[in-house]
C-alpha cells in the first residue's frame, strides 16, 4: 500500500524533476519550505501567542487579517513538501519521524477546524488590544503553538532520528 503510493508519487515527471532531473529544484524547494515556515510562524504563531495572553498590546481582532499570509506559508510548505515526497518517497514512507510530522500537521488541522466551528473566531473578531479571549481559545492557541513547533522539530529530526536522506 505505502509502496504503491510512493511509486505513484515518484513515477512521473515531477518525481524525476525533484529527484535529480532538475538539479536546482530540490534546494529551491528547501528554501521556499523555510520561507513558508517563517510566514506560518510569524502570522499564526504570533496570533497564538496573543490569544494565550502574551503581546497583549496587539489588537487581536484585526490581527486575524494576517492569517491569509500564514495560510499562504502553509500552502507553500504543502506544495514544496509534496515535491520532496515525489522526488524521493522511499526515504519517507518507512520513516517514523515523517509519520509523526504528518500526524502533528493533521492534529494542527483538526485544531483549526475546532477553532472555526466552535465559534471562537467570531467571538474574537470584535476584540481589541488588552482583551482576554475565552478559555477555550487559549487552549486552542497553546495546542496550535505546541503542534507547529512539534512539526518543525520532527522535520528537523528527519535526517537524524529517522532514516531519511
Amino acid at each position: 500500500m505505502l509502496l504503491k503510493i510512493a511509486n505513484f508519487a515518484h513515477d512521473n515527471w515531477l518525481g524525476w524533476a525533484a529527484n535529480s532531473g532538475v538539479p536546482w529544484l530540490w534546494p529551491a524547494c528547501e528554501t521556499l519550505h523555510f520561507i513558508g515556515l517563517a510566514l506560518l510562524m510569524g502570522c499564526i504563531g504570533v496570533y497564538d501567542l496573543r490569544m494565550m495572553g502574551f503581546l497583549k498590546g496587539l489588537e487581536i481582532g484585526p490581527l486575524r487579517k494576517l492569517m491569509p499570509w500564514g495560510i499562504f506559508g502553509f500552502v507553500l510548505n504543502l506544495v514544496t513538501g509534496a515535491i520532496f515526497f515525489a522526488g524521493n518517497p522511499y526515504q519517507y514512507i518507512r520513516n517514523w519521524v515523517f509519520g509523526y510530522k504528518l500526524l502533528f500537521i493533521v492534529l494542527a488541522g483538526v485544531n483549526v477546524i475546532v477553532y472555526y466551528t466552535s465559534g471562537l473566531d467570531k467571538q474574537i473578531a470584535g476584540l481589541g488590544a488588552g482583551a482576554d479571549v475565552p478559555r477555550g481559545a487559549k487552549l486552542v492557541a497553546a495546542a496550535s503553538l505546541v503542534l507547529w513547533i512539534g512539526v518543525i522539530f520532527w522535520g528537523r529530526m528527519m535526517p537524524f532520528l529517522g532514516n531519511a536522506f
Binding site: P27, E30, T31, F34, I35, L37, A38, L39, L40, M41, G42, C43, G45, V46, L49, L55, G57, L58, E59, P62, L63, R64, K65, L66, W69, A129, I149, I152, F153, R156, M157, P159, F160, L161, F165
Partner: protein, 172 residues
C-alpha cells in the same frame, strides 16, 4: 593554528559534531530553526502590515514583537556560533556563509531603521516618510529571503558535519 580551529578541535565541538546525541548537532539545529521562526516570522508580519495588509491593525503596538525578534536573534547568534565553530574550517571557506552573514547584518540594520521610523514617530508621518518605510519593509523581506536562501545553500557549497553520511542534504 587560529583560535577558531583550536575551538573546532575542542571537546565540546567534537561532542556537537560526533556524539550523535539528540542534544548535540540535531538539537542545536532545531533551536536554530525555531530562532529563525521567532525572528523572521514576526519581522515579516511587521513588513506585511507596513505594506498594507490588515490596515485596521494598528502598527504601533506591533513594536512589542521586537522583543520576540531579539530573543530569536540571540538564540540564533548562540546556536549559529556553536554550529560555526564546530565546522569552522569548512563553513568559513563556504561562500554562501559569508553571503548569509552580510544579509543578516543588513536585515538587522533594517530592523533598527524600521524601529526608528515606524515605532518612534509620535505624530502621523508625512507622505515621504510613509513611502520610505514601505521601501524598508520590502528591503527587509528581500534580505530575509536572501539570508534564508544563502543559509540553505550552505549545504550545497560545503560539507556539514553532524551527519557526515548525509552529505549535502542537511545544513544550517
Amino acid at each position: 593554528m587560529t583560535l577558531l580551529t583550536s575551538l573546532e578541535q575542542s571537546a565540546f565541538c567534537a561532542w556537537v559534531r560526533e556524539s550523535g546525541s539528540l542534544f548535540a548537532y540535531p538539537g542545536i539545529l532545531f533551536l536554530h530553526t525555531l530562532g529563525l521562526a521567532m525572528l523572521v516570522g514576526p519581522n515579516a508580519a511587521i513588513d506585511l502590515r507596513i505594506l498594507g495588509v490588515g490596515p485596521e491593525l494598528s502598527l504601533g503596538p506591533m513594536r512589542s514583537l521586537l522583543r520576540l525578534m531579539w530573543t530569536g536573534f540571540w538564540i540564533n547568534a548562540v546556536t549559529g556560533s556553536i554550529l560555526l565553530v564546530s565546522d569552522a574550517s569548512t563553513k568559513l571557506a563556504n561562500p554562501a556563509f559569508a553571503v548569509k552573514m552580510v544579509l543578516i547584518a543588513l536585515a538587522m540594520i533594517d530592523v533598527f531603521l524600521i524601529k526608528r521610523f515606524v515605532f518612534r514617530t509620535a505624530a502621523p508621518e508625512p507622505q515621504r516618510a510613509r513611502s520610505l518605510v514601505k521601501v524598508l519593509a520590502i528591503v527587509s523581506l528581500v534580505l530575509w529571503t536572501g539570508a534564508i536562501t544563502a543559509g540553505r545553500l550552505m549545504a550545497y557549497f560545503g560539507q556539514d558535519s553532524g551527519a557526515p553520511e548525509f552529505i549535502n542534504k542537511i545544513g544550517g
